[in-house]
């Protein structure tokens, strides 16, 4: 099965990139692709629980579509977001960069970064 990896390094409310991400995710899922999202740096803000609006809830939308979402632990902690304040269903990884590289180089069909 084809696999799309998305690396997100920016917060959800800066611009409309999360809309683009959701569009890409929808297209990929319609084609039967696996989609995996990696949240790095400011991208971990996308995983914060309790956000309002469709941009803030883009990760909930992605989870609902069957995407796997991973957030970087040290970036969460640097931004005072403890793992218990992360949306349910998001995996918190200690070595996100390592997992991302393995995924991109060994499994992914396509990778897109923001």
């Amino acid at each position: 099965m084809s696999r799309l990896c998305l690396l997100i390094m920016k917060p959800p409310h800066t611009d409309d990139d999360m809309d683009r991400m959701c569009g890409l995710l929808n297209s990929a899922k319609e084609r039967g692709w696996d989609v995996v999202i990696y949240l790095l740096g400011d991208g971990v803000y996308c995983a914060k629980k309790g956000q309002r609006g469709h941009l803030g809830n883009s990760m909930m939308t992605a989870l609902g579509k069957g995407a796997e979402i991973n957030a970087n632990l040290k970036d969460l902690l640097a931004r005072a977001i403890p793992p218990e304040n992360v949306m349910p269903g998001v995996k918190v990884l200690e070595d996100l960069e390592g997992a991302f590289i393995e995924d991109v180089m060994e499994k992914a069909s396509r990778v897109v970064s923001w």
Partner: protein
């Protein structure tokens, strides 16, 4: 473990250092890829070419110049765009065949200032391309 897997990752940096974390993320991902045995090539474009500035001395941040030098020591190939570098005052002459780069006393040795066409060659060789920041 040095480049034993043969697969190649290309990273393109659009943003300058210390204005955002894009350069940090790129360097950390490049290091992780090299540590896992993948080949890594990096192209600096737009304000990303400021990452090649010699003598960076951030007090609190990850030093991008040193990180690029360490990546080269681990086997990464790092090039920066000739036009972007020229526009920002890095180039001091015509392409030097012997040095295999455009000359610059302002850029670290780890980075070769090259024609944008060398990026096309990178794309031709690579398994995946990742971009950091926006143009």
């Amino acid at each position: 473990m040095v480049n034993e897997k043969g697969k190649m990752l290309t990273l393109m940096l659009f943003s300058g250092p210390y204005a955002s974390q894009y350069a940090d993320h790129m360097c950390r991902i490049a290091k992780k890829a090299l540590d896992k045995g993948y080949r890594v090539e990096i192209f600096l474009y737009g304000d990303g070419v400021h990452s090649q500035l010699k003598g960076q001395n951030p007090k609190m941040f990850f030093n991008i110049g040193e990180a690029l030098t360490e990546l080269t020591a681990k086997g990464a190939i790092i090039k920066s765009c000739q036009r972007c570098s020229g526009a920002r005052g890095y180039i001091e002459g015509e392409f030097d065949e012997k040095l295999d780069r455009y000359p610059s006393s302002k850029a670290i040795d780890a980075v070769k200032i090259y024609s944008l066409y060398s990026f096309v060659d990178m794309i031709d060789r690579t398994d995946h391309l990742l971009t950091f920041g926006s143009a």
